[in-house]
């Protein structure tokens, strides 16, 4: 589904990714771990199409198509979704209106008519129940005054509605208490199927107890320096990242 070859990316002439290789197949869950500043969030943003980042070398193939030239919305229309580490507050736009616009713009891009209002309501109701989101919450301005947990739950709620092929969860666990973590993880697990894939970006192993990865990769200095299975996550939790840095330097 996703194939990243020798990806180099920079922001304001500062190199951040220095040759990332990664392949994610349908049905798989990949975890990307790494110390602060290793380039994890940059990798997520580059896949999602953030314009501030310049891809200098390498390529990102999504379903065998190079998506380098595609705008963020076009990538979204193809089925790429990123859950933000810091979801943006948009005063004046309600959660419901935001989702309606997102759904109908995605449908428009696929040549479909707007979703009928009753179908839309049903979808929103169904998915809000999955994420245990209160009805009142939906008429509030997007992310404005939301707690950390509410913001993250709202991200997964959006994911549930948009049903992406590839979901990238950027530090979704940060700022979550254990109950919220369980709700979010449960939401992600329910949405998982053999046809879609998930990349979980995290600093800690905690979330991986709930969303169990098939593969774990360690990103360091803009490169994947080690890959393994879920046991690698446990090892990192126990020993920290220093041994990896030493291994790389050796």
């Amino acid at each position: 589904m996703l194939k990243i070859n020798n990806l180099h990316a920079s922001v304001e002439d500062k190199a951040i990714l220095r040759g990332v290789n990664l392949e994610v197949k349908a049905g798989e869950v990949h975890a990307i771990m790494g110390p602060n500043g290793s380039g994890k969030s940059t990798l997520a943003a580059v896949i999602a199409g953030k314009e501030e980042y310049d891809v200098e070398e390498g390529e990102i193939l999504f379903e065998n198509e190079n998506i380098d030239e595609l705008a963020a919305e076009e990538r979204a229309h193809k089925g790429i979704f990123m859950s933000f580490q810091y979801p943006v507050e948009i005063p004046g736009v309600s959660v419901t209106n935001f989702m309606k616009t997102a759904i109908n713009e995605t449908r428009k891009a696929k040549g479909l008519e707007d979703m009928p209002a009753n179908e839309m309501l049903k979808l929103i109701r169904e998915k809000s129940e999955l994420l245990e989101i209160d009805r009142k919450f939906l008429s509030r301005s997007l992310n404005e005054g939301f707690s950390g947990g509410e913001k993250k739950r709202n991200e997964i709620f959006q994911m549930a509605i948009l049903e992406p092929k590839l979901a990238i969860l950027d530090e979704t666990d940060s700022g979550l208490d254990i109950d919220a973590l369980r709700i979010v993880a449960n939401g992600v697990n329910k949405l998982k199927s053999k046809d879609n894939a998930v990349i979980v970006i995290t600093h800690y192993q905690r979330l991986l107890d709930y969303i169990v990865p098939d593969f774990v990769h360690v990103l360091h200095n803009g490169k994947i320096v080690k890959s393994g299975t879920k046991e690698l996550a446990h090892e990192l939790e126990e020993k920290g990242y220093d041994w990896i840095k030493e291994e790389v330097n050796a």
Binding site: K50, A71, F81, I90, G92, V93, K100, A102, T106
Partner: protein, 437 residues
């Protein structure tokens, strides 16, 4: 002959058309003298520093335009808020048009200024209210000098006017250029409530200059909601001079939606003559090309325990320019005044500009006054967030601009106006928005 000379000499011709024995005529004669002395305002005056009238004054306006074209309702329906029942006072090239209007004398007067100035039964109201709060600045004086037609609305006490009143001016001129000077008088007596919508619409590509004066009196406990829809074509300019006198416990609001026109200047003046008065001044401006919109507001707090709320949002694209000059005066006696003012602007082009200036003159010591102005660009991180959800750039921009304007739209009390404004904004931004705010 420049426009000033032309106007002054036209006054003699004007006198041949009106009743010079009426006491109003002394007011007019006085006013033309004031205009002759002061002339049109120039950029040397502080209040006109950022707005030059030079380019719009250079046309050879016809001062007494003839009504040249008859209009059918179906041709101009879109300029009305037509999905609600309303009273309508409609003018074409300054002349009253009965077949597009719906006036009334049934327990209140929604009719014409020309009738009110001529007929004895209105004399008392005219004597008490006409030209009593309009200031003696040159443009208002010019309007006063030529005042003969416009809307006359008198709501007696304890009357809830259920249908909004629409005042619409069309310009159709085949003449090279026309100047219109409508004069409106609105008197709302004790405990009464009225909603008014005003619009100026040019249907010609020839230049149109409108210099309008509206005097509004909100007497004790009256409620007046006024909406100005300014979405004219780009050869039309508007100088809107509005004066509102409020008595105790009255509530008055003016929402100004400025989307069109070549040059628009809103001189909006509130005078609080009583206690526990509430005044609201709100506006959304969205312009592009070389359009210019200038909001020049004044709230004069004269007595204690009153409030005023100002909230103006502006979005400027291309080479558009905007001005916000908000003056608040709090007299020494006006203790416990709450006066708020906000002006937020987004520049979406490098060539667009806004000059914003709050001006507070506070002479009382126990007051709450706040003001804030911001100038920014569209939030890039919000743009990426929306685009990553599949909302294309143009629509994402539009959504952000809606959100930005939302505070102002949310206090509009007539849903059809809110829908209309939403639609105009969407058209303006070239998008289709799938929901109403």
């Amino acid at each position: 002959m420049d426009l000033k000379e032309k106007l002054v000499s036209s006054f003699l011709a004007f006198e041949n058309q009106v009743d010079v024995d009426s006491p109003i005529h002394d007011v007019r004669s006085e006013a033309i003298k004031t205009f002759e002395e002061k002339g049109f305002p120039s950029k040397k005056e502080e209040a006109w520093k950022y707005t030059s009238l030079n380019t719009i004054l250079k046309h050879d306006y016809s001062v007494f335009p003839k009504q040249e074209n008859a209009l059918e309702f179906s041709d101009v329906k879109k300029y009305f808020i037509h999905d609600i029942d309303s009273y309508k006072i409609v003018f074409i090239d300054g002349k009253y048009t009965s077949h597009l209007s719906q006036t009334t004398h049934d327990s209140m007067d929604v009719c014409l200024m020309s009738a009110a100035l001529a007929k004895p039964k209105y004399r008392l109201v005219i004597e008490n209210y006409f030209n009593k709060i309009a200031t003696k600045d040159s443009l208002s004086s010019l309007n006063t000098a030529f005042s003969s037609e416009g809307a006359y609305i008198h709501i007696p006490k304890n009357k809830l006017v259920e249908k909004p009143i629409q005042i619409i001016h069309f310009a159709t001129g085949n003449e090279s250029a026309v100047m219109l000077q409508p004069r409106n008088l609105i008197v709302v007596d004790e405990n009464s409530h009225v909603q008014i919508i005003e619009r100026h619409q040019s249907l010609t590509d020839n230049p149109v200059l409108t210099n309008s004066v509206t005097e509004i009196y909100a007497n004790k406990r009256a409620i007046v909601d006024y909406y100005k829809v300014q979405n004219d074509n780009e050869n039309a300019s508007l100088i809107d001079n509005t004066f509102i006198n409020q008595k105790q416990e009255s509530v008055a609001s003016v929402h100004t939606f400025s989307f069109g026109g070549k040059l628009t200047r809103n001189n909006l003046n509130f005078f609080q003559n009583g206690e526990r008065i509430d005044s609201t001044l709100k506006g959304v401006t969205i312009i592009g090309n070389k359009q210019h919109v200038d909001h020049n507001t004044l709230v004069h707090h004269i007595e204690p325990n009153c409030e005023s709320h100002q909230d103006y949002k502006g979005i400027f694209g291309d080479s558009a320019t905007g001005v916000f000059n908000g003056k608040v005066i709090v007299n020494k006696e006006a203790q416990k005044t709450n006066a708020f003012q906000a002006n937020n602007n987004i520049l979406i082009s490098d060539k667009a500009s806004i000059n914003t200036k709050p001006q507070l003159e506070i002479f009382a010591d126990d007051v709450k006054c706040s003001h804030g102005c911001t100038i920014g660009q569209l939030d890039e991180s919000a743009m990426f967030y929306m685009r990553s959800r599949g909302i294309p750039e143009k629509e994402a921009k539009a959504l952000l601009m809606y959100a930005f304007s939302n505070n102002v739209l949310s206090s509009v009390k007539i849903p059809e106006i809110k829908q209309r404004i939403t639609k105009i904004i969407a058209t303006k931004l070239g998008v289709k928005i799938g929901f109403d705010l």
